[in-house]
């Protein structure tokens, strides 16, 4: 017993030293974000809550008609989330500001997929059905999807919705950034095109960030000094400007590091070139060989055990 145990540690130690020698420093994690994607800048100080963007989205993406018509603004009395029938919704907040007649001033917030630069959903997707496109869109390919819903677990903004009521061919449903329309027809996304007050500006992300900074600088009293989406989750293609602190109008705190970084670093340092499984296999073979005549192995063993 004692002898074999010592033998075990000898073999394991030798193999362990081999591992230590062969381990390269893990490659530094690299972002796969497109260099200058397109995006949208939403200026909450301009939005009047007309829900035209919801309508434009529904038309362009041929989504099912809503239960209440788009001109029915009582819908805004409740907070809503995008779901499997709706890619984008407007919510109304009263963050506490009052106008000259002492009326509470509403702030309207458009919610849709943020189209992260390093999307957690795309990193998580088991089959790569979700991908970040060069033009900024996080694109969903239903032909690859198996419906594991890991994308929904991964998304920090809780955006992807699921057709839970479809027994055989359910889809993940989320804003497409009007991928085909933007890429093939050269048009703007449905919501940005229809907005009557230019609350949604479509353009290169770098340009949008400049515009946002300019608006803050030229009108510092109207804006909080922050562009939501500039750093959130490592940066998103959709950006927001607000006149009130973001946490008062439903925006959540999201780490500034890309959410993909930790898991991807661990996976690639352990499994690049399959080095760790190969080393472990070698170690175990060594142990098995070293112990072939030790222990209390029964030589009369039958049925496959070596």
């Amino acid at each position: 017993m004692q002898l074999s145990r010592r033998g075990f540690f000898k073999v394991a130690g030798a193999a362990g030293a081999g591992v230590a020698a062969s381990t390269r420093p893990a490659e530094a994690w690299q972002s796969r974000a497109p260099a200058d994607p397109q995006g949208c800048l939403v200026d909450l100080t301009r939005c009047i809550g007309c829900r035209k963007c919801e309508q434009g989205c529904q038309t362009v993406n041929r989504l099912p008609a809503p239960e209440q018509p788009f001109d029915d603004l009582t819908v805004l009395d409740k907070k809503r989330r995008p779901d499997e029938r709706t890619y984008t919704v407007i919510n109304r907040y009263y963050p506490g500001r009052r106008d000259e007649r002492d009326q509470l001033v509403p702030t309207f917030v458009k919610v849709q997929c943020m189209h992260c630069q390093d999307p957690a959903c795309a990193s998580a997707c088991i089959v790569g059905a979700l991908t970040k496109k060069e033009n900024g869109a996080v694109h969903y390919d239903v032909t690859k999807c198996i419906g594991c819903r890991y994308c929904m677990v991964a998304c920090p903004f809780e955006i992807p919705a699921y057709e839970y009521r479809d027994p055989i061919t359910p889809r993940v449903m989320k804003c497409t950034f009007c991928y085909e329309r933007v890429e093939k027809e050269g048009k703007r996304p449905g919501c940005a095109e229809i907005c009557p007050v230019e609350a949604i500006t479509f353009g290169r992300r770098s340009t949008l960030l400049k515009i946002a900074r300019n608006r803050i600088k030229s009108n510092p009293a109207s804006y909080v000094d922050r562009v939501y989406g500039e750093h959130e989750a490592g940066g998103t293609s959709w950006l927001y400007l607000s006149g009130v602190p973001f946490d008062r109008v439903g925006f959540i705190d999201v780490p500034h590091r890309p959410l993909t970084q930790l898991a991807e670093s661990i996976q690639s340092s352990l499994f690049s070139y399959m080095w760790s499984p190969i080393v472990l296999f070698g170690m175990l073979s060594g142990v098995m060989w070293a112990f072939r005549n030790k222990g209390d192995r029964d030589t009369r063993e039958k049925g496959g055990q070596p």
Binding site: V127, K144, V153, A154, P167
Partner: protein, 401 residues
Amino acid sequence: MSAHAAPMRAKFWSPGVLVLAILMAAGAAAVLARFIGGIGYVSNLSTARPWGIWIGVDVASGVALAAGGFTTAFLAHILGRHYYEPVARPALLTAMLGYTFVVLGLIVDIGRSWAIWKPMVYWNFHSVLFEVAMCVMFYLNVLYIEFIPIVVERFKGRVNLPGLLSALNGVAETLLSLADTLLSKLMWLFIIAGVVLSCMHQSSLGSLMLIAPTKVHPLWYTPILPLLFLTSAVAVGYPMVVFETTLATTSLKLDPEMQVLSPLTRITIFLLGSYLALKIGDMVIRGTYVYLLDGTAQTNSFLVEMIFGVIVPWVLLLSPAVRRSRRWLFTACTLIVGGVLLNRVNVFVVGYRPPVSENYYFPSITEILITVGFIAGLMFLYRFLVTYLPVLNRPGQEVSA
């Protein structure tokens, strides 16, 4: 050792087996409803809560509690401790059935069950889930291969197919001999591959949640989650063997195998102790003990997991008297099994708090029925296979066939 693994030849339809059959039927009805009305028809899953008990129990706990397979294979076959052979076979059977039901659970849980083969074609190397899926797929096949010798032992030279099929007797006989010859030379490859694949995906199951730092409660969200999953799986391996062996030997009135189980759990003191040290060290380093007394459901669940699932059974196992007593050993091991089960449920369900919707989730009746039905199905098949195949040790003299 006088006893050898042998078919039980006990009466199959005992009252317990009937209960299992009823639970299976209820589960089957719920599965049918899922494939008619969709996941939304039978479950409480939502946009905010995409994963429920099917992932937390059927998949994550199923994989963890099947760890007895690779941990006993390591001991009995790689370290050559033939002494533990009597429990290696039932542990292998449990692992094989466990992983089979993990895949069945996934077929119910994923929205497009018919597309389950697609990860074999569309690879996303960045996805932790992709690696887990590949490992589970390969390991399931390894487990089936490791089980073949048991089938060979039972039927080689004794193939006697009924009716017209008897024409195939010769073919079956040839196949069995071929499998016997090939596997006796190659089995070491599969045994080692099984241990390697297990280490890979047991840890990666923990990595799954690393992508959701804002959703998993800080008591569980730690960069060492993969290490904790691996160590807890290794630690629960032998207690799971004790748990299932005690249940099986009690139910079938066999030798309790205490002379094998007692020394097995002496190793557990070290393994579970390491896991406990990692858990506490992680809590101290990250300062998450500040949550311990805030009284939320998450915190209470964490306390139950740690106190009754790790600390109490670990202290119990320290006592040689406990390790010698069948009742107390079973108690301690059941606590450990329950602790790991609760840990997986905590990480995937209880500790999962969507930051925007803060959606409350409790599984629906049909969701629970499906999970219970699968567990009943696993036990049913276990009973069936040990009745007709040489898995458990049957004392030669006491029970004559």
